[in-house]
Structures are given as structure tokens and as C-alpha cells.
């Protein structure tokens, strides 16, 4: 029925099928445990299922929310490259990327519902508006952008099912949909940084800067391009296709230049704010150095060495380091660089861990199945 799935299956060795089925089983188990843990949280309330307190009201759920949103920047980054910049040679990397974006945002929605004190009223932001609130804007953008991602992803399914008219409709509307998606992403990726501008008394001065909105936006593109490389590389392997090195090179180059821009802005900002000496002073200085050196400077340096850039291992490591750096940044901002009131402490509850791991496992599982069974190539015609 489907020519390229047969091809991909042929190229799988017996061993790798068994291994992939074991991984699928494990991911499914973790997802199930996570769903049970999430249900437990909804029934038990926050005090019985989390370690959150008035001194530490946001925990790993929020940390992973912020990380997942940055990583899901893969969606708008890739649609911009293909549909706005018209770099059609990156088309093969597009669909695995927007599928990852959609699943990332879906995971954020689930985590947010778990985290809300009143999950039964999650829709209240649609009714009661506060245009001053960064979280209000973020909520709206996430809702609208998840819808956009669904529109962008649906041809993968409709092409598989052989429905022609929705695919034609999606093709015709692809440019306006992409422009709206990029606009919504610019807004909320930066507003996640604006959110911290209301916490000058809490967020460490090494992280707090009026530039946070810009830095958050730029780092979401770093993470987006990093994840685009990884999703493309994995997707070609799952589908048994040949990886085009020009795609990996091009995305990597864009990622590295944006990371250099980020490093310049961040260090310039630290210098102007007179925070440079603080980098060498206490634990917080060390943590920021770690974030910037391991998560930005080293991957850039590695990329600049041609032998590493073209090496098989290097091509995995460099985007992974960038993603780790952005993840550190989001966790530092939400948790580690936050000043605690006296007596406040936090060590995540087992339900927080299980639900988070379960949701992440679910994302990986559904993405894998999607890449394996949905139509990932733009030019495949409908089968009717």
C-alpha cells in the first residue's frame, strides 16, 4: 500500500526491530505510569502529590514546561525556513520537526493542567482577560499556536488516509498559516522571558535583565534548530532513508550563528550591567558559566573544527549540547537562580517525577510512531 514504509521495513534488521519494539514497550509503560500518576495528582491535590510550598510554588513541571516550549521552537523555526525563506531543500526535515513541535506543546498543555491549582477552570483565561499579564499572553499564544501546529501537521495524517481535499486545503493555506505561527511563536517565546521581569526581587541578577524577552526568543531558535537536526537525523533512520548532509550542515550553521549572537548579547549585557565580576564569585556565577560554556561556547567551538563538525558523533553531540544549554537556562531561571524565602526547600515528589517522565516518554513514543507510520515527505501523493 505504501511504498516508502515497505522500503523502511526492508532496511530494518531483525535486531533493530526487536530493539525498537522493546523501546516502544518501555515508553508505553512509562507513559501509562505517568498517566496514572497524573490522575493521582488530580484526585489528591497539590499538597499530597507535589513537594510544592508557598516558599517554592513552581517546581519541575514548570521547569519542563519552559524547556519544552523552547525545544518546540523547532516548529516555527523550520516552517520559517521552508515556507517563508523558501529554502525548499530543507523540506525533508520539516515534518518530523513540526510533529515534534506539536507534541511538545501538547505535553506543555498536559503539564500545565497538572500544575494549575484549579485545573477545572483552565479555560478561565479565555473569559477573564488581563492584558498586562505575560502569562495571559502566553496562555493565548500556546492555545492558538497549538491549533496552528495541528493544521500544519494534519496533512501527514490525511495523506496517509488518502483524503485529498483537506490536503489540498492545507497546501493552499500553508503560507498564511506559517506566518501566523511564526508571529505567535515570536510573541510567546519572548514573553516567557518577560514573565521574569516581574520578579526582580527573586531572580538572581546574573539572569535578570530587561533583555530577557530577546534572549528567550533567540535561545528558542537555538533549541529549535538543535532539535530540528536531531529529529531529522532520527527520522531518516526510522524511515530507512539517506540522510542529506547538506541539511544537517545548513541547520547546524544557522544554529551556531544564532548561538554566537546569543553569547554576544548575553556577555555584552553582563558587561554593561557590571555583572562580569559576579561570574567568578559565588555558586550562581559558576552555574551561569556552566550554562554558557557547556551549553553554548563549547558546541560553537566544536562546530568551528571541521573534523568534529563532519564527524558522526560530533553531529549528534553539538545539537545535544545546545539543547542541554537551553534546558539549563530554563531550569536556572525557573528554579535554581530564584532566591528562596527563609526555610523554603524543594525536592520533587515521586508523582511529579513519574508524571513528567511519563509525559516525556509519551511525546517520544507518539513522535516515533508518527514518523514511522504517517507521511513525512511533502511530495508523496495521496493514495485513494
Amino acid at each position: 500500500m505504501t511504498p516508502h514504509i515497505t522500503t523502511s521495513r526492508e532496511q530494518f534488521t531483525v535486531v533493530s526491530i526487536k530493539a525498537s519494539e522493546a523501546v516502544i514497550g518501555l515508553l508505553a509503560c512509562l507513559t501509562f505510569i505517568g498517566l496514572v500518576a497524573g490522575l493521582g495528582r488530580l484526585l489528591l491535590g497539590l499538597s499530597a502529590s507535589t513537594a510544592l510550598t508557598d516558599g517554592y510554588p513552581w517546581g519541575i513541571w514548570i521547569g519542563f514546561d519552559f524547556t519544552l516550549i523552547a525545544f518546540s521552537g523547532v516548529g516555527f523555526t523550520m516552517t520559517a525556513i521552508v515556507h517563508i525563506f523558501h529554502l525548499k531543500e530543507y523540506q525533508p526535515a520539516l515534518r518530523p520537526a513540526i510533529l515534534a513541535g506539536l507534541l511538545g506543546y501538547s505535553a506543555v498543555l498536559v503539564l500545565l493542567v497538572l500544575d494549575l491549582g484549579r485545573p477545572d477552570r483552565f479555560y478561565n483565561f479565555l473569559i477573564f482577560w488581563n492584558l498586562h499579564s505575560p502569562l495571559f499572553e502566553i496562555s493565548w499564544c500556546i492555545l492558538l499556536y497549538t491549533t496552528i501546529l495541528m493544521l500544519e501537521t494534519c496533512p501527514c495524517l490525511f495523506q496517509r488516509l488518502g483524503y485529498e481535499w483537506p490536503v489540498r486545503l492545507a497546501r493552499k493555506s500553508v503560507v498564511p498559516v506559517s506566518i501566523i505561527g511564526v508571529t505567535l511563536s515570536t510573541l510567546h517565546q519572548s514573553t516567557l522571558g518577560t514573565l521574569y521581569l516581574n520578579m526582580p526581587h527573586r531572580l538572581n541578577a546574573l539572569w535578570y535583565t530587561p533583555m530577557l524577552p530577546l534572549l528567550f526568543f533567540i535561545s528558542s531558535m537555538m533549541a529549535g534548530l538543535g532539535l530540528a537536526i536531531l529529529t531529522y537525523k532520527v527520522a531518516t533512520r526510522v524511515q530507512g532513508k539517506v540522510e542529506r548532509s547538506a541539511i544537517v550542515d545548513g541547520l547546524g550553521q544557522a544554529m551556531v550563528w544564532i548561538t554566537i549572537l546569543y553569547l554576544l548579547l548575553k556577555s555584552g549585557d553582563l558587561w554593561i550591567a557590571g555583572q562580569m565580576p559576579a561570574l567568578a564569585q559565588d555558586r550562581m556565577g559558576f552555574i551561569l558559566m556552566l550554562e554558557l560554556i557547556a551549553g553554548a561556547l563549547i558546541p560553537v567551538a566544536l562546530w568551528l573544527i571541521p573534523a568534529v563538525r563532519t564527524h558522526r558523533l560530533g553531529q549528534w553531540m553539538i545539537p545535544l549540547l545546545i539543547l542541554a544549554g537551553v534546558m539549563m537556562n530554563r531550569f536556572n531561571a525557573t528554579m535554581i537562580a530564584q532566591a528562596l524565602p527563609p526555610g523554603a526547600a524543594y525536592s520533587p515528589h515521586i508523582i511529579e517525577w513519574l508524571s513528567t517522565i511519563g509525559i516525556l516518554a509519551g511525546v517520544v513514543l507518539v513522535w516515533y510512531l508518527g514518523v514511522r507510520f504517517l507521511v513525512m515527505a511533502e511530495d508523496v501523493e495521496c493514495q485513494s
Binding site: G45, G117, W129, E137, V177, I179, P210
Partner: protein
């Protein structure tokens, strides 16, 4: 040739649609800057009601905290709170402070919502459940709250507390007994204080009184009314014999906390318009170039 015409048609259609998209965003985004939001913030003025706390008169008797629990029908009125929580909208903090002569003295510091003139919690609240009333109090509409707890991060005084034990919890905080104020009464804590440590009135009048007290008793007070300028000014003001740094009251800049975020939030419609326009223009230019390259190759 006919192929090229087809391409042109699609492009025109694309452009039309992206134009509509951009226009929608602008119209949706526009009211953000112009009209007042539903969760209206009335920046507090000197005319608003305020509370002046004279810490030199406080004996730590806790009559205020008990009156608060009774008036707000809070649980465990018999338990003396050591911090703010969903059962305690105010508590009397005990601070060991070294006086000038090396002696250690216990200071009692009544803590509660400061009812900021430009409150960060109000600006931050996702659904506008918190609002600053013209009369002074920062009030909370429990029916709107979704329990996101952003207010807990935005408040520099650690005032909003969450009802963690409840499976469907809400935020709790002092509302300056807003219902009593409407009925022409004073806040319960002020009325209960037997030592005259709490005074209720117009903010401007209380500030004038506080400064007059400092001038007439310079040996009794430090020359600082806490809350006059902190975080843009608060509706709860403190007089003290010892510097405020040792009393657990945070040192804060006179710039209201929400100003920076609000300055960025105001740009939202312009950012949306700019990004959508640039993206549309780029698409148009780059697709033309792509088409030209295609036709060039065809010839």
C-alpha cells in the same frame, strides 16, 4: 508558460491570505494598547485608605491576628501563626535586633499584604483575579483564579499564599477587610489593637503624621517611613525604632515592580505586526526569486 501563470495565481492567493492573516493579528492585537483591560488597575493614590503601623508601640499581644481570623472566618483561631498562610492573613513576626548599645532586643513586626499602589500581583495575574481598588485595598476574586501561583512570584513581600491541602485550592491574602470598609468600619486588626500601634486613614494624612512623629521624636524612630517609596509606594506604612533591614522587610527600589514587564507587554501588537509584515514581505520576495530561477532553468 501556462505553468508559470498558474504559479502566479497561487502566489497572488497566498499573498491575499497572508495579508488577511496579518490583518487579523493586528485587529486582535490592537485593543491591547488602546482600551483599558477588563482587569482594570486603578493605581493607588495618596487619597486612598492606608494603615500606619508604629512598631515602637507593638507589644506582640496578637489581638490583631486573632481579630483577623475571626473577621475573615479563618480556621484555627487558637493557633498563633508564625508565617502567612491560607489560614493566616496576618501574623506578628518576632525579630531579634541588636540595638546601638550592643543589647539584643525583640522587635514585633506585624506582617500582611502591603496593598501596593502599583501591585505586581495584579499586573501578573493571568486572569485578572487580583485588582487594586480606588479605595486602597488589593482585592481577590476567587471565582476567576485558576491557581497558577504567578502572583506568589511577582509579590516582593511573599504575601499571596496557596491553599495546598485543598484538591481545588485557591489563593489567600489580606484584603484590608474590604467589606468592613464598605460598611464604614476600620479593618478588624486596626480596631482590635489595644496599644494604638495601628492607625487607619488616608495615605497622605498618615504619611504626614508619620513624618511629624519622626521629627518630634527623633530618638524614638529611624528617619524612614517604610512603604512610602518601596516598590512605588504601599498602602501599609511602617514606623520603627530600628533600621528596617533587620526586620525582614525587603529593601526595594522605588520603581514599581510591574513597570518593566508592562513596558514590554505594551509592545505586543507592534511586535506581532512587525513580525507578520516582515515574514509576508520575505515570503513574497523570496518566492518571486524562486519563480524567476525556475523559469530561467526552464528556458
Amino acid at each position: 508558460m501556462s505553468n508559470q501563470n498558474q504559479d502566479r495565481l497561487t502566489r497572488r492567493e497566498f499573498l491575499k491570505k497572508s495579508g488577511i492573516g496579518a490583518a487579523t493579528l493586528v485587529t486582535v492585537g490592537w485593543p491591547i494598547d488602546g482600551s483599558q483591560p477588563t482587569a482594570t488597575r486603578t493605581p493607588g493614590s495618596d487619597d486612598a485608605q492606608a494603615i500606619l503601623i508604629d512598631l515602637t508601640r507593638c507589644t506582640g499581644c496578637n489581638a490583631c491576628t486573632l481579630a483577623c481570623k475571626v473577621s475573615n472566618r479563618l480556621a484555627h483561631p487558637d493557633v498563633l501563626a508564625k508565617q502567612l498562610d491560607s489560614d493566616a492573613y496576618t501574623f506578628v513576626d518576632q525579630r531579634q535586633v541588636e540595638k546601638g548599645d550592643g543589647q539584643i532586643e525583640t522587635c514585633f513586626v506585624k506582617r500582611q499584604c502591603m496593598h501596593c499602589l502599583d501591585p505586581a500581583c495584579v499586573s501578573a495575574c493571568t486572569v485578572g483575579a487580583l485588582s487594586k481598588t480606588a479605595a486602597g485595598p488589593v482585592v481577590y476574586d476567587a471565582h476567576k483564579c485558576i491557581g497558577c501561583r504567578y502572583c506568589q512570584y511577582a509579590c516582593p513581600f511573599g504575601v499571596p499564599t496557596y491553599e495546598w491541602e485543598n484538591a481545588l485550592g485557591l489563593i489567600h491574602k489580606c484584603q484590608m477587610c474590604v467589606e468592613r470598609l464598605v460598611a464604614g468600619q476600620q479593618p478588624a486588626c486596626v480596631e482590635a489593637c489595644p496599644n494604638g500601634a495601628l492607625r487607619f486613614g488616608k495615605r497622605a494624612a498618615l504619611l504626614a503624621q508619620a513624618h511629624a512623629q519622626i521629627i518630634s521624636n527623633p530618638e524614638r524612630y529611624v528617619d524612614h517611613v517604610y512603604g512610602e517609596h518601596e516598590a512605588g509606594g504601599t498602602s501599609v506604612l511602617y514606623l520603627s525604632a530600628v533600621p528596617f533591614a533587620g526586620l525582614g522587610l525587603p529593601e526595594l527600589d522605588p520603581e514599581p515592580i510591574p513597570h518593566q514587564a508592562e513596558a514590554v507587554m505594551k509592545l505586543t501588537p507592534y511586535v506581532a505586526l512587525t513580525v507578520a509584515s516582515i515574514a509576508t514581505a520575505l515570503h513574497w520576495i523570496l518566492q518571486r526569486r524562486e519563480l524567476k530561477v525556475d523559469t530561467g532553468e526552464n528556458q
